[in-house]
């Protein structure tokens, strides 16, 4: 069975197309086509193998299609299989030629050998040519009634393939009811399982348009059907068991007795060798007991041992999948693994992705009783050669410190890290010490003593440098050298590449000045001068703001820049609890690995009519590899923007925390702007006149600083343009450009939710209020809409992202607009329109 030698030499698709060889093959095949001499089959086999190997490595061999079909009249089953494979690969792109194959495939579907019948039927259904669907109906119908279970098994999946090719043909031929019959009575478990998967897919895709299909989908979850599957559980293969268990997890039992019956029946599945079956069983247990708190806790106890086994057995990839699930569980019930924390100690040779999750687990299970051991272990990793691992470990120590009340020992450890004199360790630790001080200001003395000894020259990473500078400013009082270190940093202003560091530097110098004015005066002057001249907009603006503040009144400046701060008690959680619940609903799927609900990442197919994803689809992974990179990046960027990327959210959260001390909420731009030409003697800057009033007003307005109570700009009644239009591209672009001007949570009328079964209902309703739907998608219970509206006068546009959870009746709104002033009014208008949905 050695493949042709060519494939060794030219395995890469980038290599010569092998045109000469292909035409050689063509002539050879043609010669063989009619021949019936003995031994022909062996020659054919060799030739077919060559063709297939070319096909695999990406050489286009579609030109020999007709010859292949001619040669396919054979009784040799290997030849047949190769031919089917070939045909399946090229039929899609050569629908005319595909017609040639119909004949022999149909004939094979009637072969006396069930094996050949099955193979032919599978190939016939896999052709994927829409105009040929009429030829499928007959053989499929026969296949479903075939006496042989192999053929029925193939036919059951074949129906699904037909559905994807042409839904109407499939439904018109009444295949779904046939499948249902088969599912409920076939003797063969695999046939039953295939019927189930096909029906599930067909009915859930149909459910959005047909009420009957929605009803049918519900009947799959009815008691008789679920019990039927449960009773046959042991007959199914491990893969089919996964599918059945998934079905069972959606079933809602009537009473607790039923729940216990099902759990007793399934308990032995926890001993199954296939991890996927175990996870699926766990899902059933967890979901069924959600409403029974006590039992739910017992379930956690029961599933602990099997889960730990899964972590330690199997490949690292499998451990990774299981650990992601453990992490989800431990967030819901931190105590369950608190005594088993040693299972999450990292092994030296494990891949980083496994170690990372184990660190997350260690952080999550840490409590009063085990913190000491866990932190000791983490400190071992900090000394690790592997730099990412060391960083993650420090972060883990920091997280534990922020969780615990007794941080005494941990602070000591962290400070020891600073003495290790490794750049990455120092950098990571500085960031942590900063966060720690924000939560536990009482530790400042101990920390400052050590931090003060760190030379700022040894700290290069922006985040760490920013943290160090923040501490220099914040604790200027206690650090002897603070003004001089800052002065040194200001001197090197031009060499500092990171805007974040420059921003922090400005603020730190300012704070230091407010406390130790004489020592810092020069540094402040230099910093403000450099800041105003800075090309980075934010740095420039902040420098200007400080300058004017100081000029206006130093005590006001103090109040704004350096107000008395409260210790942070809880750092903001990056994920809403609703999101976490949703991920929990999708236990045992990718959602858990990605830590976001499926609507955020699944493709258009499963998102329903989602206009953007169509667009993304066309962008997707360019045809040429070189293009691919760019295109896919764009795709990713788009995804991030449009699909509520969590990472984006995290960043803004993080920054919000960091920056909160510096925000100047009560700053009223208009008061100082008028007097801005005055002379400020403390700092002498040659102000470029171009920076002055008109432009700075514009900037202030843009930032919304002068906003509060500007009555003229918020007309009470906002009128919308009923004929507003925008094309999806422009919308998408705009959505990306504009900041979120309003983000709100509200609720929707349960009656409205009932209307959600028809996805077109809400868009139609909103259109009645001059708000147009640009895109929609999602699956119950989560729907997502993008709306667009335009002001009747003027061109201001409103862009809305609206996420509706139909089970909790919650609505999340995000409004973006280029007319900030009216966003509130628009939001009210939008909500009132939404609240009428369902009641009309």
């Amino acid at each position: 069975m050695a493949p042709p030698a060519q494939s060794h030499r030219s395995p890469s698709p980038s290599q010569p197309s092998g045109k000469g060889e292909v035409s050689d093959l063509k002539t050879q095949l043609r010669q063989l086509a009619g021949s019936r001499a003995p031994g022909t089959d062996d020659t054919k086999r060799e030739l077919f193998k060559k063709v297939i190997s070319y096909m695999t490595i990406g050489i286009d061999v579609s030109s020999v299609f007709s010859e292949m079909v001619m040669c396919s009249a054979t009784s040799d089953i290997v030849l047949k299989k190769m031919c089917y494979l070939y045909v399946g690969n090229y039929a899609k792109h050569n629908p005319d030629l595909a017609l040639l194959t119909i004949n022999f495939l149909q004939r094979d579907c009637k072969d006396e050998d069930p094996m050949i019948r099955g193979l032919a039927l599978r190939s016939l259904c896999s052709l994927g040519v829409a105009n040929l669907v009429e030829y499928l109906v007959g053989p499929l119908g026969n296949g479903l009634k075939d006496g042989n279970s192999y053929v029925r098994m193939v036919a059951a999946v074949g129906v699904l393939k037909l559905y994807h090719l042409s839904a109407s043909t499939c439904l018109d031929a009444d295949f779904p009811p046939l499948l249902k019959q088969l599912m409920l009575k076939d003797k063969d478990a695999q046939v039953v399982a295939n019927c189930l998967t096909s029906l599930q897919e067909i009915w859930s895709l149909e459910a959005s348009t047909s009420e009957e299909a929605a009803r049918e989908r519900e009947t799959l979850l009815s008691k008789p059907v679920v019990y039927y599957f449960l009773n046959r559980m042991k007959e199914f293969s491990e893969w089919a068991q996964c599918i059945v268990l998934e079905l069972v997890s959606k079933y809602v039992p009537v009473d607790s007795e039923e729940i216990f019956d099902i759990m007793n029946l399934l308990e032995d599945r926890l001993h199954h060798a296939n991890g996927a079956v175990v996870l699926a069983t766990i899902k059933v247990f967890l979901h069924m007991t959600l409403s029974m708190t006590d039992v739910h806790q017992q379930v956690y106890e029961r599933i602990k041992a099997p889960l730990l086994t899964l972590v330690s057995s199997g490949s690292p990839e499998q451990s990774y999948a299981v650990l992601s699930h453990l992490h989800l569980l431990v967030m819901r019930a931190p105590y369950i693994f608190s005594s088993d924390y040693k299972h999450f100690y990292c092994q030296y040779n494990e891949p980083f992705y496994v170690k990372k999750l184990k660190l997350d687990m260690l952080t999550a299970v840490a409590n009063e009783s085990n913190t000491y051991e866990i932190v000791t272990e983490l400190c071992e990793y900090v000394a690790n050669v592997d730099i990412p691992m060391a960083r993650e470990s420090i972060r883990a120590v920091g997280k534990i410190a922020l969780q615990q009340y007794d941080v005494n020992a941990i602070v000591d450890r962290l400070l020891q890290f600073l003495e290790m004199e490794k750049e990455h360790v120092t950098a990571e630790t500085l960031v942590l010490v900063k966060d720690l001080l924000r939560k536990y200001p009482q530790w400042s003395h101990d920390c400052i003593a050590v931090v003060g000894n760190i030379s700022s020259k040894n700290v290069q990473e922006p985040k760490a440098k920013a943290a160090l500078i923040w501490m220099l400013g914040e604790y200027a009082q206690d650090m002897q050298d603070s003004p001089y270190i800052l002065e040194g940093l200001v001197e090197n202003w031009d060499e500092e590449n990171s805007a974040e560091v420059r921003l922090h530097l400005l603020t730190a110098v300012m704070k230091c000045f407010l406390r130790r004015a004489p020592e810092t005066q020069k540094a402040l002057g230099d910093a403000l001068a450099a800041g105003v001249a800075d090309f980075h907009q934010d740095v420039h603006d902040r420098a200007l703001l400080y300058y004017r503040l100081l000029k206006y009144d130093v005590s006001v400046a103090e109040r704004i820049v350096n107000p008395p701060k409260q210790a942070v008690s809880v750092f903001a959680d990056t994920q809403s609890s609703e999101m976490k619940d949703r991920i929990f609903d999708e236990f045992n799927s990718l959602s858990v690995v990605y830590q976001k609900p499926s609507y955020m990442f699944t493709d258009k197919e499963h998102r329903g009519p989602f206009a953007f994803s169509e667009e993304l689809g066309s962008l997707s992974i360019g045809t040429e590899p070189s293009d691919g990179a760019v295109a896919a990046q764009r795709v990713e960027a788009n995804d991030k923007d449009l699909l509520l990327g969590t990472s984006e959210k995290e960043e803004s959260h993080g920054y919000g925390n960091n920056g909160s001390a510096y925000n100047a909420p009560s700053y009223d731009a208009s008061t100082t702007a008028g007097a801005s030409q005055g002379h400020f003697d403390l700092v002498s800057i040659d102000q470029p006149s171009t920076l002055h009033p008109p432009s700075s007003f514009a900037i202030d307005d843009l930032l919304g600083l002068g906003m509060p109570a500007a009555p003229s700009s918020a007309p009470p009644a906002l009128l919308l343009n009923a004929k507003a239009t925008i094309d999806p591209n422009a919308f998408q672009q705009k959505w990306r450009q504009l900041p979120v001007s309003l983000s709100q949570e509200t609720s929707i009328d349960p009656q409205g939710v009932a209307g959600m079964t028809n996805p077109q209902a809400l868009p139609q309703h909103m259109q009645g209020h001059s708000i147009n739907c640009i895109a929609s998608g999602g699956q119950a219970p989560n729907f997502k809409f993008f709306f667009f509206a335009q002001k009747a006068e003027g061109s201001s546009a409103y862009l809305v992202e609206c996420v509706i959870n139909s089970s909790s009746c919650k609505v999340q709104l995000k409004i973006k607009t280029d007319d900030q002033a009216t966003s509130q009014a628009f939001s009210e208008l939008f909500q009132s329109a939404l609240s009428k949905f369902g009641s009309t």
């Binding site: 899609k92 193979l119 795709v635």
Partner: protein
């Protein structure tokens, strides 16, 4: 969520496609390019086995010198996907005779395509049992179990087997000599601190069987585990025999084991598949007997010299031997010269892994050989960071020893024809990840 794979690819390390099989049309044809550009050619490779690119998710695993990639566009079942790959590889191995690598794939690509057709249909896993697939897909070509032409020895009830109610065994097997081989294979995982305290220790064990039995035999296995013994003493209403009872933390079984009977009667009873299979897996964390103790002392003498002393103590019975013992003692990268003294075995410095490798082929119980080495380092000006010491790692195999103390108490074979069987039981303990910090 079911696993609905859109495509499966086999790539070599350069990214050349060895096998590609599209199951569904919902992803573009050139997903393999996306994988190459975004994962293989970036630092991303190996940082995470699941990645999302565009609207698709990629699951990938490296097995010897081959990447197996599964592409899905839906919210798929991750555990199922990886398990599927693992099982598929096991299946291929059983066809290729043990090895699975680029050459084996190139040499068998037609066979792989045939198998891929059978094990997955439209992205849903079907039948992956080698037992059954081998009935109608053979290395020499395909033989149809239904075909009348090749029916030299007709297989009874073949239809049922292909789609499988008793998926793991076919009827009508006949052996002249009925034999059962049972191996208990344990791997010990240890993490010991530099001060000699055990940080983490557990045993993952598996029971491997090889059955050459005629007909449809029923087997019953008794172990000295706690649950089994307790149950027995209840049944026979007499106290359990003295001796060690083992508490298993968790057990998983091959699909042939009757789980209901395990739950109700606490006995492991099963109709075994023909040939080799893994009967059960278990995990133990309490009462582990460590076969070896490692006592290292590593001294850094100034900046260019190190003194390494390692004593390894075997703590199993004096009549037993450990085989293939390898102790890897890490040294700094800038090691220049090493000199050794060992009381047993051989040692050398291996620069590629920055370790002193000490090998002892046969290591008797209750002995404690030592290694003492002097290591000279190149003095470097740039390398001012102190050396962070990776743990000492150890490999070994100890036959006839179980770290858990688990023993087979009985293995009963019952078949209706009442033949006699020969049973062979072996024990072996291997090192899993056996690490000692120094």
């Amino acid at each position: 969520m079911p696993l609905a794979a859109s495509a499966i690819y086999f790539l070599n390390l350069r990214g050349d496609v060895l096998i590609n099989r599209l199951y569904r049309d919902d992803v573009g044809g050139n997903m393999v390019d996306a994988f190459r550009v975004h994962i293989m050619q970036t630092k991303e490779l190996g940082t995470c086995p699941v990645r999302q690119i565009g609207g698709c998710s990629f699951f990938y695993m490296r097995i010897s010198n081959v990447y197996i990639v599964i592409v899905v566009s839906s919210n798929a079942n991750v555990a199922c996907a990886f398990k599927f790959v693992v099982e598929a590889v096991t299946l291929f191995k059983s066809y290729f005779g043990g090895s699975f690598d680029e050459d084996a794939i190139r040499n068998n690509f037609v066979l792989i395509y045939e198998l891929l057709d059978e094990i997955m249909d439209f992205g849903y896993p079907q039948n992956l049992s080698p037992e059954i697939l081998k009935l109608y897909i053979t290395q020499e070509g395909v033989r149809s179990p239904f075909s009348s032409k090749t029916a030299d020895k007709p297989v009874p009830n073949a239809t049922l087997q292909v789609t499988g109610a008793v998926g793991w065994r076919r009827e009508g097997l006949v052996y002249k000599k009925n034999e059962v081989f049972l191996d208990i294979v344990e791997s010990v995982n240890l993490l010991m601190s530099s001060k000699g305290s055990v940080l983490r220790c557990d045993v993952t064990g598996k029971i491997l069987m090889k059955c050459f039995l005629s007909g449809m035999p029923d087997l019953k296995l008794g172990l000295n585990d706690k649950i089994g013994l307790e149950k027995e003493s209840q049944l026979k209403s007499r106290p359990a025999k003295s001796g060690k009872t083992i508490e298993l933390d968790d057990v998983t079984f091959h699909q042939c084991v009757n789980l209901t009977r395990f739950n109700s009667e606490k006995t492991v009873s099963f109709v075994p598949p023909d040939g080799e299979f893994e009967l059960m897996k278990y995990r133990i964390t309490e009462g582990v007997n460590l076969p070896f103790r490692v006592l290292p002392t590593i001294k850094e003498l100034g900046r260019t010299r190190m003194e390494v002393n390692v004593k390894v103590k075997s703590v199993f019975g004096a009549k037993m031997f450990a085989l293939g013992v390898v102790i890897k003692i890490p040294v700094p990268k800038q090691t220049a010269k090493t000199s050794f003294q060992v009381t047993s075995g051989k040692a050398k410095y291996s620069p590629s892994i920055d370790c002193l490798v000490w090998k002892i082929r046969k290591f008797p119980g209750q002995t404690e050989p030592t290694l003492s080495a002097e290591v000279e380092l190149i003095s470097t000006i740039t390398e001012k960071k102190s050396w962070t010491r990776p743990p000492i790692q150890m490999e070994f195999q100890v036959p006839m020893f179980t770290a858990s103390g688990l023993r087979v108490r009985f293995l009963k074979v019952w078949e209706k024809s009442g033949y006699n069987t020969v049973e062979w039981v072996r024990y072996i303990t291997k090192a899993g990840s056996y690490e000692v910090r120094c």
